[in-house]
């Protein structure tokens, strides 16, 4: 299937400031793609290029195969962009607001009744449809924003910091809605600073820093540390001070390292001597009880810190 977003060597300047410096990445259809970078990295500029608000100065930006310079209307019909700030007509009721965008997209009254009902149900806002937007909480307003983005049934959702400023419950609920949207076959391109949630949610990720792409690809590829000695996380039913001694006696174990603040240990194995299956079998044969075992992955935070540079961009 054709990529939904294709960005090749895109650069963008604001007066003397180079916001983007040859970024390149693709987004596959029906995936949830995370877009991460420090403040000032060029995330919002990239999003504005994709959603056709900005015209690219250099490089190629394609959305659904259309160049953003040439076929603006065709792209706009198929996307929904949620900016990083609340942009709502606060004097309207929730229903009016969605009805307004339905009419603005050219839907008839009958179609609007159905569409507005559907998006209200999806965002769980049907009980608040007659409330004025002004009186809603931040989390509720974010839901209404998301509902607005869904009014034209877009194939691609571009979400800029959708969880910023939300309380934990509202954030979790928002992530649930995004999962549901992915199940419905939407492609979601989400820019966020909340890395733990992105790691859980996204299929693929792009990390940019100072206008340059640092990584773009599957989330797994970023989190799996590429080392010669495979590393695993293990928790066994033994007091902490005895774990090290018990494990170093197992064949093929190179090192055992306790994990900070946890009762797990990180075990490095010699691939020429053993593998994960053999290692597990040896532990069990040694009479140890395994509570938890798995491949040791970097956290997205660690990958982000490794890939991005320290300090504030000039």
């Amino acid at each position: 299937m054709e990529n939904v977003i294709e960005i090749k060597n895109v650069s963008h300047l604001f007066k003397q400031h180079r916001a983007l410096d040859g970024i390149t990445f693709d987004v596959a259809p029906q995936t949830l793609h995370g877009f991460v970078g420090p403040n000032g990295a060029g995330k919002t500029t990239t999003l504005k290029l994709i959603c056709t608000l900005l015209k690219p100065q250099m490089g190629q930006t394609k959305v659904f195969g259309h160049d953003v310079r040439d076929n603006v209307k065709a792209i706009r019909r198929r996307i929904g962009y949620m900016p990083d700030h609340f942009s709502m007509y606060r004097q309207m009721t929730v229903f009016e607001y969605l009805d307004f965008f339905g009419a603005a997209y050219g839907f008839t009254l009958k179609e609007r009744n159905r569409i507005v009902g559907d998006v209200l149900a999806l965002t769980d806002m049907d009980g608040r449809k007659d409330d004025f937007i002004q009186g809603l909480s931040r989390g509720m307003q974010q839901r209404v924003s998301l509902a607005r983005v869904l009014v034209n049934d877009p194939d691609l959702l571009l979400l800029d910091e959708p969880a910023s400023g939300l309380d934990p419950r509202a954030r979790i609920e928002l992530m649930e809605i995004l999962r549901e949207l992915r199940r419905m076959g939407k492609t979601i391109f989400i820019s966020s600073h909340i890395l733990s949630e992105l790691a859980e949610l996204c299929d693929s990720v792009t990390i940019i820093d100072r206008g340059k792409t640092k990584y773009s690809g599957p989330m797994e590829g970023l989190l799996d540390e590429q080392t010669e000695t495979p590393t695993y996380r293990l928790r066994i039913d033994l007091p902490a001070d005895e774990v090290d001694v018990a494990l170093t006696q197992i064949r093929g174990v190179v090192s055992v390292e306790p994990m900070e603040g946890r009762s797990d240990v990180r075990v490095k194995l010699d691939p020429g001597v053993t593998d994960s299956n053999q290692f597990l079998a040896d532990i069990i044969s040694a009479g140890l009880t395994v509570i938890n075992f798995g491949r040791d992955q970097r956290h997205l935070n660690e990958a982000f810190m490794d890939l991005t540079e320290q300090g504030v961009r000039n």
Partner: protein, 515 residues
Amino acid sequence: MNKFFALVRRALQTETRLARSHLARCFLGGFVLWTLITTQFQMFFRGAPGLDLFRSVTYYNFFFITILGTAFFATSITEEKEERTLGLLKMAGVGAPTLILGKWTPRMIGAFFLLSIQIPFTVLAITLGGVLWNQIGAAYLSLFGHLFLVGNIGLLCSVVMSTTTGACGVATLILVVYHFLPMVLQGIFRNSQGTILGDIVLSFSGKLGEMNGFGSIGRTMTTGFSSSWWSFQLLSNLILGTVILLIAGGVFDLCTRNEKEEGTLNVFDRIRKRSAALSNRRVWQSAILWKDFHFVGGGAWFLGLKLFLYLTSIFLFTLGLAPSSNRFYEHLGGALFGWSAFFIVLEIGIMSARLYRSELSQKTWSSLVLLPRSSTEIIYSKLLGGLSVTLPLLCCMFLSLILIPDEFADFLGEVFSDSSFFLGFSYFISQIVLAFHISTYLSITQKWAHWPIAVFLSGFILFMANMMIGGCLFWGGSSGISEEPVFFMGCLLSGALILFIHLRTRTRLIALAAE
């Protein structure tokens, strides 16, 4: 005391760094210089060129203070409210008197700077002849009194209102009422002289008129003025200004107790909110038109209310002027037409300065531009929706045409039969359209151009530009040539300017969607 000086110092430092404050001083100084040059050219035709120069400069100052002074002082507290720094200042122990005086003093100093740069030029008026030191002193004191009053009205509005736009709007409304109420009251009660109510109202409106700086300057500028520098206007403006300043201090804590959330609804929004809740309205197929009909125009109920108020006021005004005339309906028709034309210009001016700015301040403009429609369609749909503000006045105008059809036909006949009149009329209309364009452009490009400032500043710019062009034509010795080519060239130039600003506004609006 340290806190007060810290506030004053910070404000003066900020003011010094801003290019616009230096530009404003340069603009006013340059304008005074230009007026001096034109007066020098004309001194052989005039009896008292110095007095003419000084009169012009003083009136420019008066308008400058009224328009920009309002905005200048109306931002004093609201800027802290909008930046959400008022709470921080209060937590740092800055009390209401310190805060008010700390905001008020640097603004007064700024206004003095603005007035002081022109004093050397105005003193030159004495060498041109016809003006006395007495008049200069009295005029500057009148201006100071006016500035003191206008500034404190702006300050009080800034304390009471939650946004700068609201504060500027209310301050402008107060000033409009203050300047025009005596005239309106005298019009309505002119024929009630001798009755208790009529005498009270007329005496009140007379005193209100004497308090007005515009009238006071006019009296100062009469040839042979020899009164004291102190006038009723100066004293009353200082006293009223001080009372308003004290009220601002008194209500400060009450009005700034809670910081309001961004996008808080104002009184009019709340009225509309209630009417919306009752009407269960559905969006029209032309969604943008619907939105601006309701949220800029005010919706059917609000427009109906406006129509009722306009009709009632104009009816009462005409009744006051000509209660027993057998040509009452002709007078009513004329008043309806004249007032409707005046208010249509005013309402379109206000609408043009609010229409796109409200989308930009609510950050909704990018959502609108992203609709799968051309930017042109979106921009003009909004304009069409915004023009609904004129519906009540168009109804009044239509009613006037029913009442005085012959007079209207005569007027049209005169416009089209006399080419000079036609071109003059066209030039006048083109200046109004140009003013709308300037006010729209200012409102979307300048952060400080809230609607009252944008509207009045655009009118002021055009008035000055026309004065300058008129002056240039006069020196160029074109006083003997026919008016027609002048108006024709004026129409062409205005048309070109309108087109240029129109296209610039469109380009800027599209660019603003991405900011």
